[in-house]
Each structure stands twice: as structure tokens, then as C-alpha cells.
Symmetry: C2
């Protein structure tokens, strides 16, 4: 002992270096469970140790043995280490002022929305509002969004968000084809559309067997084979055109007119709905959502009422509850993939709810007058710039424009001006060899115009200042000026000061159950901890304020992260390359299948178009396969819920020549580690097919096995499940795909920022096309997943998988005596989720899964996944980040509900008039002066001790879905109607 | 018109430069009211225009006419402009690693607490929990804090926070004097205390007529005149001593032993309570609160049970509610200034609730084992450093130490090593000419030890590494090792993963009404908008992570802000200089009076010690005057609530020779712009007195008049009122004082970082001493007020005052027909607040102010200020940032309650068993199976339409204050007791 030594050694100890390591370790904050708790759960699960349970669960053949090396991230950083490491990386990005436009604009995110929505787990950890009674807050906000879109576009009905403007345009194309019942394969795309929109439409058309023809608008020919046209309004060069005669001609030929537009411009411009558009799409990004190097932000699609059953995506509608009071919920779900599967209007599932909410709230905060003020200012700055450019001798547009001015430079050297702009720390767009275009946004200023004039004056101050010039300049949009009012509803004319806004946000938040309240044990959705440290970088300006098409050397920080994160994902999946472009799981499926398609095509196997999909597959699987031009052959499951291998073999043989792919989820959608999966992969490969793995259940695989080990060729990763991106009430998400080397060349690229496989770039890329507007999808949220992996390290991740499996097995064992557990593996274990069979209760007590789901709300819990993949069941997925205490509370609720059901079975309670059928119990019901229920109010509202500690109240009684679809209302009336008629307690 | 010109001019307009100014103007977000709404309110108030109302309200003699020039801040910046301007300023701070110790340590703020408490308006906009039924969340958290302090110090009872460690030590001194009934004026302060603690005790002793003698502990002499001693444990040089015999000697002489200590150290060290300390104080900063260049953070004071009635500050206690269920509330309020006035135990009012909550939550998150791990690590690093220093030939302590090692450098040149450390971007402390001391914290690392060894090796790598050295080093604290367990309560052993913690935070938050729910119209407290943009910088690392005693050139950003903000305040107040040291209004009063005292002393007027205070003054006024050694002479108010000028004149004459000061609040605490205030000032000045203005009501003055214009010599500004610092549930606050030039020389300084008057530094400073631990008080929250002023600009601020006055008058007029309005000015107007007289209702209906206050909760509102300054009244202050809609809702609630009272008056309702006496109605009550009340459940819980939209529930029934004080419980039992027994619905 060196020192200190002069005093008694009592209480002294030698120091281990381990004890000196940083103490803010993330792993125990995410992976919940003390050794004692783990022991207790293991023992209930019936195993001597956690490892024994895992060994009994994961099939020998696919066990991962290589240690999952994560390189410099292998040990896992502590929380503060990660934040300072990543701060240094992020600051390698260079944030220049952006005048690039093309659908992405810098914004002032209103701070009250930034802090209380985007930085608030009460909002961002919400799930998709399937359980409407505990989701009236975000449903109201999404109805605001739909109202906003309808009013600004002049259309009848809008959905509640799509992934981005380009895919929204592709969805519009799909709708046009559907209107024509698939009989008109041609779709005309104006050459004045944004390049990314053109690229995505072309790619999408290919998979669908359509043809997207890019052509000048004045050369449109409305042949019999043309289902629709796509215009951009204002055009990508900024100009605004009169489309009345074009629309007339198109309609005369029964061709539908789709318009991609800009919401801010529409506050000043005559909306497309008023000049005849049939479908209108666009991005709401510039309504208060940062550019984020490409996303996430909400796109929209609005259309005439007659096409509403063909619309993609979620649509929120007004209905009534069991008391006849107004209540909101998702409408017309029969259009969607989770019900209609391969006949669905699209494959979209996770969309952009959180960002749609931010945009709607931005409009609520500014109101119609505030929005117009912003728009006039943007237009004014553009007009002054144009005037100045003309004075300097450059060519400027003769047509009206809104915010973007295309300047034909007098010396014909566009590159020169782009470089001069860089000197001013500004990005402008080279739109052709002799023209630049300059787009303004709400953050632009007169000083910016002066700087831009300096650019246009070859680096010297212009002989006149912008402010001096302004009063002589005419602004506005000339003959295109909008005459119709918009956003006259009270909701858009009430909350214009910060206090009122804050309280509105809080009221909405408090109606909605989120992970900030209790576990959301949704099977297949992996609602795990979205840790604060993971979320912090999302609002760093170095990440938030980058335009996706800025010169790549300005995105060094992002690029380093993409490289490192892609390498992490390769190691985790056992794959060779990754594409970060798809921004949802369903998009990943589509991208993966398109890569498979391209692979077959490249080998001359154009005829390979059969995709085998188990009946138990998620609805996105068949819907995506259709989009990739594949024909679906289903294969059934056996009594144990496993893929029927004999049948699979038979079908693979039958379709051997044309077999393109198998889609398989692993562990299965039934929550089981199927034993035969390696065999299944071999069968498919034998017949020349590729194995597409649906990675929704990766949370049971990480560190224990891997798609690449199992034998898959491609797999998507729902980063909003296994990798901690919060669900946001129905998006954002990310669905990158990993592939084996042979598929890497086919990964998607981008027309503005070429990309492809990461980290290894194949020598000979043959990308299948472009599938999203941004080269790396929703880049701004990738740090969430990157942070998760970097802080967990290899062992932390592996432990997460083990604990996820342990907790599912613990709960299954606790509940098995009360409800039958459907499907387990050979050793009686489930994977990370399990299914409770409620069907017998229908017989014995008239109780359905929905009744149990709604009654759970009274206990303060969100229901598990209901009636999927098996009707009449609940699928429970606890995740590693829930504590044993929380699992126990949930089990106790389920057991107590079982006892409530028993009372019906035993005749103590009525079959109809009982506490389950009336669930959930809103305050207005349990507080009503009259009470004639056969159970007490207290039992209705306070069925468990923890509810007394902190009651979460559903704000409406059970919502009537049928009524809402019969009486479709998807926007607020302009009338005097009180604000949220739908959300009374 | 220059361009574009080629298309029709319809819809075009010329561009005004104004329309091109940035659009994210802050003023309309803060100042609520459209022109139409303002007109409507003006007309109800009975005036033709807003200006007419103001003219009728502000006495001509004091009207401000100079335009209130704010220099470069005059126009007001937009939100984004301010953030980027201030970001650039803040980045002039240089954040070096701090090893300075002295009570301030770098920390890892757990991100889940950072985001969900410090960055969450649901927490930070709460008011002091006087209305217990809607404050059970923070009351629980504060009980956690008290439990934490008691357990770690080994003491019986703790308060719920004090301002800082140094003032806490001074409060302990005051207690010792009180224990001796003021008969023992000497207080011995160990020379091993921190310098700021010594300075504050000495200054405080002066005002109180005590003598704080700084002396070596081994030279303590326990004379008959000695009331107490103060020790630092561990000492400022890091060493730990055995105080058992010292305590025995002191106690033998009936001398009390105070100990200033460190909570983290106490996880390893035998707590002072176990070796005989009587009073223990310290700072909880290092429990999860950033250093913030000095604050805010929570100090604590704990003592033996027998001294509890002498304790300063708020104390939370357990009681029962009307149903007999456990409920928390503030205990033993009769000690406090708002009740006991000049006999109070201290002048403290606003303390550090938010920071106490953060510290308590830090302990909840880490638990006892987590805390010990952190402490052992810190101690281990210190031990390795000591060992290394010794190996390098330096002198190291022979006594045990916890985290701080004082190294006697071998070449005797401490300065040299401080400079070498700067090269490593580290701050170490020069503790004497030949010694440096180095303090470790939870953010320190082995790499830091290596760097420090390099410093001690004169800039060259030491020939051995820290990691290599560690295993041979003994750590620990030797004979001082703590043997007793602590924090065994369930609350400290449950929430150790992020999900559980997040939900605990959310549950607590959701029990408490804050400005995020509805207006909090507290007269005299000015609960206005705490805007997000103002709050954003508070968690910037450039501001948060600075040690207050770092070399001043590392704080250039802060210093620039201090200068600019002080200049803003000078302009606003009409004063010449400012001190930013006081960190509450009460501290400002004390500082201002001490400056007046020093001024009189300097002029040889030592006898001037009379302070005239109107009876209507806030309790802090007399309590502060006592601390400044003044004798109080009260002056009454007349029938109109104004100061009785004749009486004032008479008393001023009577005490002319000894007159020191007048304390006066303006507008008066009755909410009236008294006409005679200028005359009052003249009278006082005639008699050689100074005018102290209590600035609590500055929100009615800014831009319309000013203390300097009115004639005051000094004034404090509660920045947590007029200047937007959120109340935090009872702190933090800031109370800078402004003074006329003649008082500037006497403004306080600091022993480590000399300061004084800002911005003008008088040539001949004669500071009265030091009154806070940090040179600039709670620097970290000053940006909030600085942002407010900078964004509002001169006109925005003036408009805020006008709107505040308008809104008070509007409400007064709306309510006047229902409740008598007490006190108005000559034109029948009130200032920014007004008093409703509820005393007649006692007679007519048996209803008291408290009943109305509690019933307001059922309507979703926090009560106005109750029974102050006039018993039996409610004082309402709406502030400029509340919308007319919100004011109307509040008025409607008050009117509806008046109708409920009328039912009692008219005999329709019972005098005892009625809806007011039973208020508030907790869910468990209105949902009870049995209901025998003479009114309906719905009426109880849903008395107004907005409550149905979003009900805020009180979680307990009316709290029994008397029971709680009779059965005092101020900490959680160690027993098995369930977590928050007190907080059941
Ligand atoms: C098994 C499975 N596959 C695919 C998806 C679709 O993923 P996303 O919602 O990200 O499009 C889901 C989503 O729930 C799923 O559970
Ligand atoms: C009139 C008046 N003076 C003084 C104070 C004390 O200020 P602080 O709480 O900041 O110490 C208050 C606080 O409410 C007050 O209303
Ligand atoms: O606590 C007060 O602010 O009076």
C-alpha cells in the first residue's frame, strides 16, 4: 500500500481499476433487472438460469457464436461518453444557410412545440392510436392536420401523413392506376417536378408494372393508356403556371391530375382543388419541422371524396362513443394492409404521426394570418432578390413565383455562383449549367438577400441594398393569388400566445397514454425504452439544420455516423451491406424485394416473380410484394404455429422455376423460435429463391443469432422497434435493410446525392432505383439507434435479447394458469412475446379480446396487440426495459380481469351489462349522477391499488367504429363549432 | 415597379421593408391580446383606450417620460435572433475541467431528470405548494429531499432547502444565537471552512450584532459568550478530522456545534449526527445539479428535534386529509416570516425547491448503492492521485480525505502548477502559496489523474500511469468509515432504471397544477409566462458547467451578459448600479438594507438604525430589517389602503435622528398606485433616511415609472416575478438590487471573485461584505431574465405593464358585482392586481377565503393569494401573458362560486355540509360507492364546461394543517412503508 498509510487501515481497501471506470453506465438503465429479480423470474419461468432458458429457446442450429464484434463500440460507452463523442462527430457537419429548396426549407420550430412535443416523452413515446379511448389527444391533433391539408389544398379529404413528398407522389400514381382498375399503365410526370419525386415515381412504376414517363408539360399526350399526370405547383424551378386548360384536357381524356405542392405557397396561391386537381400531395416539413438532413417529416395526400376508398395511409375520423358523445378514431381501416393485405391501397403502416402533429401545431400557433405573414415575407424576399438580380443584368423569370427564383446567370457559369455562395456560407442550387435557383424560407432575411446579391455581383457588394430596393418591388403571385379563406375553424384561431399554446399541448398530451405512464406490451411492436440520451442529439442544430442535398462534404459528421452505424448493423445482422434509405419497415420490405427483383433481373431471371408468404405474415409483407411486382403464394402454419414445412417444400417445388423469394418473420409472428428456419432457408435457396426476413422481431435475435447466420439474404430492421426510435404515435420510423454481398450492388441510390451500399460499396453498383425522397431516409433520427448500440455494446445488446425473452417467458408462465398460451417452442418456451388465447371466453362468458383490451385501460394499461396474428387473441411483448414490478402489475391486471370474467361465467355478473362490456370507464360515466350498473363506481375506476396512486383516465367511453365509417367526418367543420367537440370527458 | 412585371398586377403589391423583418417576434407570444380583445377589456374597464386607463392609474408625478432606452436591446430581438446572439456570447465562456471543489462539483445530471424536470414546464412553472391538494407531487419529492438529508447527515429533521451552503451556515449561526436567546454574541468559525462560508458568516454576524470569530479549531475557546461553533467536514483542504472530543468540550460549555458538510462524502463517512453535531448544513449541488457558475442549487439545514421550531425555511410534513388519508403539506409555518414577521426564524421565502427536487430525484435514481459506488470512485481517484503525487516527491496529507487532496508542492511554487494545469485545460485550486488542492467528482476519470500527474510532474508524463498505480493504493476513509445504513426506504430502492424513473417523474408531475394547466393568479407573485426561449439556454453546457471560482477570463460570456443585463436593469429601474449577488427577493432586501447600513456607517451615522415599515408590508421586510440590525417602527394604512402619510411624517420626525430607512412596496401590496409615494420619499430623505423599495410589484412599473424616478435609493427585483424566472415550486429565484450612485460603493463583494457594483464600478468600493456563496448569485438562471428583456425591448416591456394593469382592471370590473373589490386609486382603478373581500361571506354564509380557494381547484384553478395582505381576502394578479379567454374562465369560476355561496345564504344549501366546505373533491371522494352529499357528484367535479374538456384532479381532499403540526412527520419512515403513502387518490 503506497498511501495514505498513517492512519488505521480500518475502512480502507485497495482500489480496483474497474471501480474507477465511469459510473454513468447506460446498460442497467435500459436493461431492467437486479440479479435477484432476474433469479426470481428465471425460476418462475422454470429454468435453473437465464442461460439455460436461452439455450432451451434458441435452436442449436442458429446460435450465434462469434461474439458480435462491434469494433470500437464493443464495450459500450457511458451516457456522457457517448454524448461528448457524438457531439464531436456531429460538429463535423457544416451548417450553411440553405437556399436549395426542392421541398426542404429551414424553419423556426416554435420553441414551445420543440420543447413540449419533440422533446417530450409524453408525446414521442405514444403508440399508433389503435386504442382510441386513450389517444384522443393525438387524434385531435391529427384531425387538425387533415383539416389543415384540406383547407390549404382545397381538397375534400386528407390522410394523416405519408413518409415523404416523393413517395406520396408515387402513392398518387398508384391511386390513378387503381381508379383506372389497372388498365392504364402510363403515368405522365412533368419535367418540372423535383428530381427525387421523378426518381421515386419511376422506380415505383417499375415494380408495379407501370410506366412513369417524364415529359414537358406542353408535350403531355393523354392517350388511352394514360391513367394520370403529375404536376409540381410551384414547379421545381420556382415558377407558377396556369393549369386550367391542362386539367380540362386531361379530364376530357379521363386522365386524373395529381399535383405535388407546397403548403406555405398555398396560403397565397389558388389551391389545386380550386383548379381541378384530383389528388394533391406534398410535404408539411416547412411547417415547423427541421430539415434533419432529409427527415423525418410528414407528407400528405388529399383527394376528392370519390377516391377516398383508394387512399393510402391512416385517416382519422370523428365518430361517437358508447354514450353517444363525439370521439375520434382511425377511419376506414379496411383499406389498409393490416386488413386488406395484398389488396390494400398501399403497404404503409408506420407513417409520420409525430411530425404531422408538429406541423398541425405550427399552424395552430400561427393561425391563418400568421401563416400568410410568413408566406408574404418569403415571397417578398424572393421578389427583391429577383429585382436585384435583374438590375445586375442576370435573367430572371417572367412568370410569377412564390419563394424560389431561378436566375439565368449572365456569364452562363452556374458553378461559379454556387462557389461564390459557399464563400458566403450559403448553398444555392445549380439547376442547369447556366442557371442557379435560390429558394427563401421563414429564416431568410434582408441581410441574406444582400449577401446573395453580392454573390450575383461576383463577390462584391451590389451597388444597391435589398432594403433600399424593396419599396420599388412588387411582390405577390399575380393572377394566381388565392381568394378563398382557409383555416377559419376556432382551433386555428385561438392559441396564438405561448401560454395558451402550452396548455393546449398539455391538454392533448394528458389525454394520451404513453410509455411515460406504463408499459405498452404490444406484441410485434417492441415498445421499449426510448432513452433520453438517445433522444438528446435529435434537436442538436448541427444535425437538425442540414439540407439533405447540401454538398456531401458539409455532412461529414452524418457520413461518419452512417458508416459506423451501418457497420454496427452489419455486425448485428451478420450481413455485408446496408441501405439506410427506407424510412419504415414496410419501405424496407419493398426495398428488399426490389433488390431481390433487380438481382433476378440482372441474372436474366425476369420470370422469377413468385413470393411465398406464410399466412401468419404481417399485412405489409403481401402488400409490399405486390408493389415489387410479385405474385403471392401463401403457405399455412401447422398446429404449433410453425410454417408448414412440407407445404412450403411442395410450393417451392411447384414454383421452382419462377420462385423469387420467401418472406419470413423470425422469431415467428407467433412469438416462437421456429426450429426449422434454417431448413426453410435451404429449401428456398435450392429453388433459386431469395430469403427476405422481416426483422420486426429482431429484439429476440440480437446477439443470440442473426438473419445472416440463419440464412436470410436480406432483412429490414424496424429501428423504431428493436433500436429504440420512439414510435411517435404512429411514426417516425426507419427501416434500413441489410443484405448479403450478392445483393449489395442493387441497393437503392439517389438522383441528387448518389448513395448505395454501406459500408462496403460494391465495385459495380446496379441500384434498383430510388425509393425515398432523401438519400439516407430520416437521417435525423438515426442517432437514436446509433446511440443505443454504441452505449449498449455487444454484451449489453445480448443481455437485452436475453431479458426480453426471459420477461416474456416469466409473464407467460404467470398468466398461463389464467389464459391459455398459444404456441411455444419444443421446450415450452416462447421467444420475446407470446399469445394469450381469449377465444374460449366468447363461449363461456360472451367476452371478446376487445373487451379485455378496453378493460385494461381502467387498470392504467395499454392493450397488447389485439387479434393479430390470430383473431381473438392478445399478443404480449414486454421488452427488456420493463421492470419486474411493472410486469407484475400487468399480470395482476390480467388475472383480475380473468376473475371479472369468471363472475360472468358463474352467473354472478350479467353477460351484457358487465364491467368488461362497459369498459373503459370515462370520468363522465363513473361520475354521472345516475348509476345503475350492477357493479360499483369504485370497482369500475379503481380496480387495482396502483390506479389509486395515479389514475390514468380514458377521456371517452368505448368508441363506435362502425358509426364513424358510416358517417365519415375527417376534418373540422369551418362552422362555429367549439374546438375539440370530440374530446369531452 | 422594378420586377416581376410581365404578368397582371392583380394580387401584386409593393413590398414594405417592415414586412421583411423576421417573423418570429416574441412580444405577441408573451403579451397576450389581439387589438379586438384589448378593446373589449378596455371597454369593460370603463375607459376609452388603454392609454386613458394607464393615465388614470399612474400618478402624474411619477410618470416615466424618457422612453427607457435599452441601447442595442431597445427594439427587442426575435426568438431565433436572441438564441443565436446569446449562443455566440455564451460560447465566450471556456469550459475547463474543474478540480476546484470548495463546495462545487461537476456532475452527470441524469438525462431523464434533465429533460423531464429541469426542461419541463410541468415541473418548473409550479408555484410554492401552499395549495397542498394540488401539489402532492412536489411535496412528495421534497419529503424525499428531507429524508435524504436526514439519513445522510444522521439528523432528526431537515428543511426543504435553503439558498446556498454559506447562507445555510449563517442560518445555523442565527439558530445558535436563538438557542442562547440572543445572550451569547460569539460564534467560532473554523479556519478550515470554505472562504465563502467564512465571509458570509462574518457579514451576517455584523448585521445581527454577533461576532463571527475565525480561528483554528485547536484554538477554540468555549467562553460564556460563545453560542456555537462551525466546522467543515471534510475541511476545505479535503482532510477529515475526528471531532468527538471537540464536540464534548463544546457541549460541556453549552456551546452548539454546527457542521457544514458534503452529502456525497457522508455516504462513506460517519455522519455528523453520529458524533454529536447539533446543526448540519451543506449543499446538495453535486447531487445532480449543474454548477451553473454558482447556482441555483439547493442547500439544506438539518438539526436535532429540539431545535426544530428555530429552523429557517420551509419544512414539508405529513398530515391527513378530510377523509383521514395521508396527505402532505408545509409544516410549522408559524416559524416563517409570512406569519411571524420580525420574530421569524429567518427572512427566507423563495428557496430552491426545483433544485432540491432534482437532488432528491438523483438519489432516488441512484439509490444508496449507486451513491456509494460514485463516492468510492471519487475517493479512489483522489487516493490514486495522492499516491502519485507522493511518488513524485510532493507532500500529501497524512490524514484521511474523501475527494480533495491538498498537495504541498516540492518546489513551493503553487502558481506554477495552477498554470501547468491550465495547459491541460484543468482548473486546480491554489490553496496557499506552496500548496494546491485537487478535488474529484463523478465526472473525473483515470485519464484526468494521468493529466494531473503530468501537471505535478511539471508537464511531462509521469513515469507511471494511474491505472497501473491503483491496485497498490488503499482507498477509503479509514477510521471515519460510515457503519450505519441509509436510504433504506422503498422510495430510494425502486426506480433505478429509466422507464421506472420516467414514470415516477410523470406521476409526480401529474399531481401538481402548474402554469402548464391554467393561470395561477397569485397577487404579489406575478406568475407570468416562463417562455421556452428564455429557458433554453439554462441547459447549455457553456453556461451550466462553469465553476463559480474559475479564473474570471474563463467566464467572458457570463461577464458580458452580467454587464449588459445590469445595464438593462439600470435603465428599467432608473438606478445607477446593480448587484447580482442576492438570490431571492428577501436576500435582496437584506443586501439593500446592509448597503444602507454601510452608507450610514461610512458617514458616521452608526446610530441610524430605525426602519419604518408599513403594516401591510410583506413578512420578509421586517424579517430582513432585523437581520440588518435595524429596529422596526410600523406605520399604518388608511381606509383606502394607502400608507398613512400623516402618521409616517410623525414617526419620521420622532425618529429623525436615528432614521435609517423606509421599506415600501410600490405599487402597494394592496395593488394600488398610491398617489403620495413621491411625498413619502421626500419625507424620509428630509429626515436623513434612505428609501428601500420592495420591487415585488415591478410588473406594474416597468416602462411606466421606475423606483429611481419615484425617489427610492435602492430596490430589489424579484426576477422570478417580473422577469420571468419560473417559480420552480418554491425557487429558484433571483433578487438583484439596484441602487442610486451614492449606495454603489457599498454593494457586496466576494472573497474569491471580487465583485461589486455593475456596470459602473465606483472608484472607492467599501462593500458591506458578502451575502451569498457565489459572486453573482444563481448565474445560470440570469439568462432567463436577460432573454426576456432582450426580446421584449423597451416597447414590449412597457406594453406588458400596460396589459398587466388592463387585465387586473378588467377582472376587477367583471368581479366587482359579485365580490367587493378592496382598495382602488383615485380614479377607481387598481394597479396590476386587486383584492376581493370575502369577509362578508363569513357572516352571510359561514364561508371563508379558504373555502373559495379550495373550491377553485374543482374548477381547475389555483387560488389567488389568500389572506395576504388582508386576512379574509383573495388577491388576484392576472399578468399580461394570460389571454382574455383564460381571464374569462377564471371570472366565470369565481362568479359560479359566488352563486354556490348564494345558495347557502338563501338556505338552499347547508352551512356546513356544502360543496365549498367539502372542496376540493378528490376522485376517491366523488367516486365513492356511497354518496350522501346534498349536491351531485357531477356538480362537485365538473362545475364548468372547460373542466369537462380536461379535468385537473386534486389528488387528496382538504388537508388538515393542524393535525400535521400536532403529529409532526417530516421524513419517510425507514420501515417497510409503501412508497408515497401520502399520495393516494
Ligand atoms: C411483423 C411486422 N412486419 C412489418 C411491419 C411493418 O413495419 P412498419 O410499421 O415500420 O412499416 C410490422 C409493424 O408493426 C410488423 O410487426
Ligand atoms: C411584496 C413581497 N416582498 C418580498 C417578497 C420576497 O421575495 P422572495 O420570495 O424572492 O424572497 C415577496 C414574495 O412573494 C413579496 O411578495
Ligand atoms: O412565497 C411567496 O412567494 O410569497
Amino acid at each position: 500500500a503506497v498511501l495514505p498509510s498513517s492512519f488505521a487501515a480500518s475502512g480502507m481497501r485497495f482500489i480496483s481499476v474497474d471501480a474507477l471506470l465511469p459510473s454513468d453506465d447506460f446498460k442497467p438503465r435500459h436493461n431492467s433487472g437486479s440479479p435477484a429479480e432476474i433469479d426470481a423470474m428465471v425460476s418462475v419461468a422454470g429454468f435453473p438460469s437465464l442461460d439455460a432458458l436461452i439455450e432451451a429457446t434458441v435452436p442449436k442450429a442458429i446460435v450465434r457464436k462469434d461474439g458480435m464484434n462491434l469494433g470500437k463500440y464493443h464495450e459500450g460507452m457511458t451516457e456522457s461518453q457517448f454524448l461528448s463523442y457524438f457531439k464531436a462527430m456531429a460538429s463535423k457537419n457544416k451548417v450553411l444557410k440553405s437556399f436549395l429548396g426542392m421541398g426542404y426549407y429551414d424553419v423556426h420550430v416554435p420553441p414551445v412545440i420543440l420543447r413540449n412535443v419533440l422533446e417530450n416523452p409524453g408525446w414521442y413515446t405514444q403508440y399508433t392510436p389503435y386504442q382510441a379511448e386513450i389517444a384522443q389527444g393525438r387524434l385531435e391533433s391529427l384531425l387538425n392536420f387533415q383539416t389543415l391539408v384540406c383547407d390549404l389544398t382545397g381538397m375534400a379529404i386528407s390522410n394523416a401523413s405519408l413518409l415523404d413528398e416523393a413517395t406520396a407522389a408515387a402513392e398518387a400514381m398508384t391511386m390513378c392506376s387503381a381508379v383506372a382498375r389497372g388498365k392504364k399503365p402510363k403515368f405522365l410526370v412533368s419535367s418540372k417536378c423535383h428530381p427525387q419525386t421523378i426518381a421515386v415515381c419511376k422506380t415505383r412504376a417499375e415494380g408495379l408494372g407501370l410506366e412513369a414517363v417524364v415529359v414537358d408539360e406542353d408535350k403531355f399526350v393523354y392517350g388511352k393508356d394514360v391513367c394520370g399526370v403529375l404536376l409540381q405547383y410551384p414547379a421545381t424551378d420556382g415558377t407558377v403556371s396556369d393549369y386550367k386548360s391542362l386539367v380540362a384536357a386531361a379530364h376530357a381524356a379521363n386522365v386524373k391530375v395529381c399535383v405535388s405542392t407546397d403548403l406555405l405557397a398555398l396560403t397565397l396561391l389558388t389551391p389545386p382543388g380550386e383548379w381541378g386537381a384530383d389528388i394533391v400531395v406534398g410535404s408539411a416539413q416547412r411547417f415547423g419541422v427541421p430539415m434533419g438532413y432529409g427527415g423525418p417529416h410528414a407528407a400528405f395526400l388529399a383527394c376528392h371524396d370519390e377516391f377516398k376508398r383508394l387512399m393510402p395511409g391512416r385517416i382519422i375520423g370523428l365518430s361517437i362513443d358508447a354514450q353517444g358523445k363525439p370521439a375520434l378514431r382511425m377511419a376506414m381501416q379496411t383499406r389498409e394492409q393490416h386488413i386488406r393485405r395484398d389488396k390494400a391501397t398501399s403497404n404503409i403502416c408506420t407513417a409520420q404521426a409525430l411530425l404531422a402533429n408538429m406541423s398541425a401545431l405550427y399552424a395552430v400557433y400561427h393561425g391563418p394570418e400568421g401563416l400568410k405573414t410568413i408566406a408574404r415575407r418569403v415571397n417578398g424576399l424572393a421578389s427583391v432578390l429577383a429585382a436585384g438580380a435583374a438590375k445586375l443584368g442576370h435573367g430572371v423569370p417572367s412568370a410569377p413565383f412564390f419563394d424560389t427564383v431561378t436566375v439565368t446567370v449572365k456569364d452562363g457559369d452556374a458553378d461559379k455562383y454556387v462557389k461564390l455562395a459557399l464563400n458566403e456560407k450559403m448553398n444555392i442550387r445549380k439547376i442547369s449549367s447556366n442557371a442557379v435557383s435560390i429558394a427563401f424560407d421563414e429564416t431568410s432575411s434582408l441581410a441574406d438577400v444582400d449577401a446573395l446579391l453580392r454573390v450575383l455581383n461576383c463577390g462584391r457588394d451590389a451597388p444597391f441594398g435589398a432594403a433600399a430596393l424593396a419599396p420599388a418591388v412588387e411582390g405577390g403571385v399575380g393572377p394566381f393569388a388565392r381568394r378563398s379563406a382557409f383555416l377559419q375553424q376556432p382551433i386555428f384561431n385561438t392559441y396564438h400566445n405561448e401560454h395558451d399554446m402550452l396548455r393546449y399541448l398539455k391538454r392533448l398530451e394528458n389525454k394520451d397514454l404513453s410509455l411515460a405512464h406504463s408499459m405498452i406490451p404490444l406484441g410485434s411492436c417492441t415498445m421499449k425504452l426510448n432513452a433520453t440520451t438517445e433522444m438528446i442529439p435529435v434537436t442538436w442544430p448541427e444535425l437538425a439544420n442540414l439540407h439533405p442535398y447540401c454538398p456531401p462534404d458539409q455532412a461529414d459528421g452524418y457520413n461518419e455516423m452512417f458508416r459506423d452505424f451501418a457497420a454496427q448493423l452489419c455486425s448485428i445482422t451478420g450481413f455485408d451491406a446496408v441501405s439506410l434509405q427506407p424510412n419504415s419497415g414496410a419501405s424496407g420490405e419493398y426495398a428488399g424485394l426490389m433488390a431481390i427483383r433487380a438481382y433476378h433481373l440482372a441474372r436474366g431471371d425476369a420470370h422469377r416473380n413468385i413470393c411465398i408468404i406464410p399466412v401468419s405474415a404481417h399485412g405489409t409483407n403481401p402488400a409490399s410484394a405486390v408493389m415489387a411486382g410479385m405474385k403471392i403464394v401463401t403457405v399455412s402454419t401447422d398446429a404449433h404455429g410453425n410454417v408448414n414445412i412440407a407445404e412450403l417444400k411442395q410450393k417451392a417445388e411447384q414454383h421452382s422455376k419462377n420462385l423469387a423469394a420467401l418472406m419470413i418473420t423470425y422469431p415467428s409472428t407467433h412469438g416462437v423460435y421456429e426450429e426449422g428456419v434454417d431448413e426453410i432457408c435451404r429449401i428456398i435457396h435450392q429453388h433459386g429463391g431469395q430469403v427476405y426476413m422481416d426483422g420486426a422481431n429482431m429484439n429476440a435475435q440480437v446477439g443470440l443469432t442473426a438473419p445472416g447466420i440463419i440464412g436470410a439474404d436480406v432483412c429490414h430492421l424496424n429501428l423504431h422497434k428493436t433500436f429504440c426510435i420512439p414510435h411517435g404515435g404512429g411514426g417516425p420510423g426507419m427501416g434500413p435493410i441489410g443484405v448479403k454481398a450478392h445483393l449489395a450492388p442493387y441497393l437503392p441510390t439517389h438522383p441528387v446525392v448518389p448513395t448505395g451500399a454501406l459500408p462496403a460499396r460494391p465495385a459495380d453498383p446496379q441500384p434498383f432505383g430510388t425509393m425515398a425522397a432523401a438519400p439516407f431516409g430520416s437521417s435525423l433520427i438515426l442517432p437514436i439507434s446509433y446511440a443505443y448500440v454504441s452505449m449498449m455494446g455487444s454484451e449489453g445488446l445480448k443481455m437485452a435479447s436475453k431479458l426480453a425473452i426471459l420477461k416474456a417467458n416469466y409473464m407467460a408462465k404467470r398468466l398461463a394458469g389464467h389464459y391459455p398460451v398459444l404456441f411455444t417452442g419444443p421446450n415450452g418456451t416462447c421467444a420475446h412475446e407470446f399469445i394469450l388465447d381469449l377465444r374460449p371466453l366468447k363461449e363461456t362468458a360472451g367476452i371478446e379480446a376487445e373487451d379485455v383490451a378496453k378493460r385494461l385501460m381502467d387498470y392504467g394499461f395499454h392493450a397488447p396487440t389485439m387479434s393479430w396474428p390470430v383473431p381473438g387473441t392478445l399478443m404480449i411483448e414486454p421488452t427488456e426495459s420493463e421492470s419486474k414490478d411493472e410486469l407484475d402489475r400487468f399480470c395482476e391486471a390480467m388475472i383480475a380481469i380473468r376473475e371479472e370474467i369468471r363472475e360472468i361465467e358463474q352467473g354472478q355478473a350479467d353477460k351484457e351489462n358487465n364491467i368488461l362490456k362497459h369498459a373503459p370507464h370515462a370520468p363522465s360515466v363513473v361520475l354521472a349522477d345516475k348509476w345503475d350498473r350492477p357493479y360499483t363506481r369504485e370497482r369500475a375506476a379503481f380496480p387495482a391499488p396502483w390506479v389509486r396512486q395515479a389514475k390514468f383516465w380514458p377521456t371517452v367511453s368505448r368508441v363506435d367504429n362502425v358509426y364513424g365509417d358510416r358517417n365519415l367526418v375527417t376534418r373540422w367543420a369551418t362552422a362555429e363549432s367549439a374546438e375539440p367537440v370530440a374530446a369531452t370527458a
